[in-house]
């Protein structure tokens, strides 16, 4: 994939393009730094959900009719740091799709009727999470991993109390403070000529006010490891999650930890974890590791879903695999396989417009340099195997991790 065309507009927005005419469609992925970390509980979630639900000029129904009449699609999804913006259209519908998108970004209505619908959706989603073993365990774990004073501690959706209280004026104020073009990034991929991108697309985004550049989120300090059990006696399967604070995406050790995460519980059918817990012991349908690295910091997790009678054995097996990262670190052959996996998977991942747009967006978002994709194979090849072993052992240390189990766990003796 060649370097993306990059435009920085006068209002601060950055636009990117990967031109690719192999499919007659355009996808875009973007972000605005208006995530949960920037407001009181729940407000970012409500604002993002209301963004495409009507403008000062057009009702929610008219906005969705106009979008869907074009067979275009638009979405805004709240996250911890930023709101993800995404869309799909064709070259024929690009102009009108952008008109709707920019109108929605610049002048959302926050109509009371839509707010009440969103209140129902958010409340429902929070309740569904409470009844979902995996989501509930992960949410609780993140509360243990990040200190209460840090924005990453709380649920980005807020809680039942915040969902009951948020008013249109709150969303309006949050939008005015955080939805400026400064800090906004939107990446396009697909059937779009550079000339049109520099002309029509840039002109559409130029209409947005600059706003204030986003403040950085403070770096999270790790909490003291803690454990929790969430009893859900009516469920068939138990879930458990272990994890700790890890690194920001821009940290020098990120690449090493990413490779360690892949080797530990992702490559093939979930790496070492999958081989032991699923393949050898047959204890779980899934058992994997994950790394979430954001601008300010991140966390790494180990997750598994198991029959309650196997829970104690699975916890012990996963704990043993975490300890094994110290006693039997990744071999040179494992690291070599991981490196070829990373290089090959980059190529394979970039087969569709949404993934291409997401990749060039992320490169800009994390400041990795426009030539990052070109440099990436060398970055990976240059990784010191020792640093992969060291970060793996450090960040998947069972004693430095918090642990949470959820589900029908009554009577199960757990030794975290």
């Amino acid at each position: 994939m060649k370097e993306a065309v990059r435009l920085k507009l006068g209002n601060g927005a950055v636009l990117l393009l990967h031109e690719d005419h192999s499919n007659p469609s355009i996808a875009f992925r973007g972000s605005v730094r208006a995530g949960a970390a920037y407001g009181r509980p729940g407000i970012a979630e409500f604002t993002a959900r209301l963004l495409l639900r009507g403008t000062k000029r057009r009702s929610a129904a008219k906005i969705s009719d106009a979008t869907e009449d074009l067979a275009a699609a638009l979405a805004a999804t709240n996250g911890m740091e930023s709101v993800a913006l995404e869309g799909r259209c064709t070259r024929e519908t690009l102009k009108e799709t952008l008109r709707i998108f920019i109108e929605s970004l610049a002048t959302p209505a926050f109509a009371p009727a839509e707010l009440e619908k969103v209140r129902g959706e958010v409340t429902g989603d929070l309740r569904a999470q409470e009844d979902d073993t995996r989501r509930a365990a992960t949410r609780r774990l993140l509360e243990l991993v990040y200190p209460p004073s840090h924005p990453y501690h709380a649920d980005p959706k807020g809680d039942a109390r915040s969902a009951a209280k948020i008013q249109a004026k709150d969303a309006r104020a949050f939008h005015a403070a955080h939805y400026g073009a400064a800090g906004m990034i939107v990446a396009f991929s697909g059937d779009l000529e550079t000339e049109t991108f520099r002309g029509l697309v840039a002109a559409a985004f130029e209409r947005l006010d600059s706003g204030e550049p986003p403040n950085p989120v403070p770096t999270p300090k790790p909490s003291k490891p803690a454990n929790a059990v969430i009893a859900m006696p009516h469920k068939s399967q138990a879930d458990f999650v272990a994890g700790r604070v890890a690194l920001a995406r821009t940290h020098p050790d990120y690449q090493a930890l990413n490779l360690a995460t892949i080797l530990f519980g992702r490559i093939g059918l979930y790496g070492r974890l999958g081989q032991k817990v699923r393949d050898d012991l047959g204890l779980a349908y899934y058992s994997f590791s994950s790394l979430e690295a954001r601008l300010a910091g991140g966390h790494c997790l180990v997750s598994a879903g198991v029959n309650p009678k196997n829970l104690a054995q699975a916890v012990a097996a996963i704990r043993a695999e975490m300890e094994r990262l110290r006693t039997e670190p990744f071999s040179d052959a494992e690291v070599r396989d991981g490196k070829t996996h990373l290089i090959g998977s980059l190529q394979v991942t970039l087969e569709r417009n949404p993934e291409n747009a997401a990749a060039i967006h992320d490169i800009e978002y994390y400041g990795l340099g426009n030539d990052y994709l070109e440099r990436y194979p060398e970055i990976v090849r240059g990784l010191d195997p020792e640093s992969v072993r060291k970060t793996g052992a450090e960040y998947y240390d069972p004693d430095a991790s918090s642990w949470v189990a959820s589900g029908p766990v009554k009577g199960v003796r757990l030794s975290f």
Partner: protein
């Protein structure tokens, strides 16, 4: 883009979708065996066999598929459905042989090591139990169980737990030998390759396999439903859900096109494939009638498009504090209201455009193309995929009204409700 179709002497159907600019090649093999081919006592066998086919055999040792594809940075997986089982690897373009080798070994040489079969029992049961944790899964299982009395769509793809506890390694291996043969499979290549060169490679990997005598086609037909069926699942939970199903014809039936247009009018359209993304359609009758009216927090409609006559379903999550009966009534008003209030010209135009444009989104990339062409070939025919979207463009309001009249009738419907009980959080 043209699909190149070939058939090997042993009956293996090969579909080629060359994409010279693609950064990858996707190798798909679909088998015409799904849970519809099982019998009571071995429900879930198709899905279990799928799991066993990642455990080596022939040139592949246990773990080799994961490590070979993983090392190359490829994507791979397998899916079992009511009508088919599908496997794929998406790889860097130079690694076509790797995908072909894996699929060839999988077709005839799987090991079915007894110890591995036994270890997999726990994994399979764990997968089922994970699904049981979800109210929507429980509701769906109840729906199919109730709507089909005779046809194998009666049981879930993952199988009944009691069968999963008893199925033996020999049950699985016999099932594998019977169904995994070139004359019961389709191989689809999509992405960067040269067609003639690819065919030579396909021939070298699969050409020597012998065809197997296939069991006679499934001769079970679900009798017509003669009255509404109702089911309830009461379990601790935090949200109520409503699901409504109507019997509709198989994918290959001429009414599929009007039913898809009807689906778009009722519940919006987000493409045929798994790659629709997180976009929520709101310009449709169900959203306006249920979510806009604050009865439900989400609602969807789907024609399941199966090899045998299946279901058209409507699913809604009941908003907190709302009586599920009100959601059911509102959904029925919209669905069966189509018979009295057929789609407007604007609704028809929107539906037709969505079906056409989303088809382009659906075909973005080798993996997506491989999935769709394999699915359609094993469930009906790949030519139907291209024809279907064209046929949808010609569907008239009268066609939609006719299929609504034919299928959206009280006597043909099944209604299931998940009623969340105390103790769900």
């Amino acid at each position: 883009m043209e699909t190149i179709t070939r058939t090997l002497d042993n009956g293996l159907t090969v579909l080629l979708r060359p994409m010279p600019e693609a950064p990858a090649v996707s190798v798909w093999v679909g088998y015409k065996v799904g849970s519809r081919n099982e019998r009571p006592g071995i429900t879930g066998a198709t899905h279990w066999v799928e799991h066993m086919l990642f455990k080596g055999g022939g040139k592949l040792k246990k773990g080799d598929i994961d490590s070979i594809v993983g090392r190359l940075g490829g994507k791979f997986n397998g899916f079992t459905d009511t009508d088919f089982t599908i496997y794929f690897e998406t790889l860097p373009p130079g690694d076509l042989d790797t995908g072909l080798m894996i699929e060839a070994e999988r077709m005839r040489n799987a090991a079915f090591d007894p110890q591995e079969s036994e270890a997999e029992r726990g994994v399979i049961i764990s997968e089922r139990e994970g699904s049981e944790n979800s109210p929507k899964y429980l509701l769906s299982e109840e729906m199919w169980h109730l709507a089909f009395h005779v046809h194998p769509y009666h049981w879930p793809v993952v199988g009944w737990k009691i069968d999963l506890e008893r199925i033996t390694r020999n049950d699985l291996y016999t099932y594998y030998l019977q169904h995994y043969a070139p004359n019961n499979a389709v191989l689809v290549l999509a992405g960067k390759f040269e067609p003639e060169d690819a065919m030579r490679r396909v021939e070298s990997y699969f050409g020597l396999f012998r065809p197997e005598t296939q069991p006679p086609p499934l001769a079970v037909t679900e009798p017509a439903q003669e009255g509404e069926r109702r089911g309830e699942v009461r379990r601790p939970g935090t949200q109520d859900h409503v699901m409504i199903g109507y019997h509709v014809p198989a994918l290959a039936h001429a009414d599929t096109a009007p039913l898809l247009v009807l689906q778009a009018v009722l519940g919006g359209w987000r493409g045929l494939s798994l790659f629709g993304g997180g976009f929520v359609p709101r310009s449709n009758r169900l959203y306006r009638g249920l979510v806009d009216k604050k009865l439900a927090t989400d609602v969807s409609a789907q024609h399941r498009m199966q090899a045998d006559p299946g279901l058209f379903t409507i699913e809604a999550t009941v908003r907190e504090g709302v009586d599920p009966a009100k959601v059911e009534t509102a959904a029925l008003e919209e669905v069966e209201g189509l018979r009295r209030k057929p789609p407007t010209k604007e609704e028809m135009a929107r539906a037709a455009r969505q079906l056409r444009v989303w088809h382009a989104y659906d075909l973005d990339g080798p993996t997506a193309q491989g999935l769709l062409y394999t699915w359609f070939e094993v469930a009906a025919s790949h030519t139907l995929l291209d024809d279907l979207i064209d046929r949808c463009q010609k569907v008239t309001t009268a066609d939609v009204r006719r299929v609504a009249d034919a299928y959206f009738d009280e006597t043909n419907r099944t209604v299931c409700t998940f009623l969340a009980q105390e103790g769900g959080s």
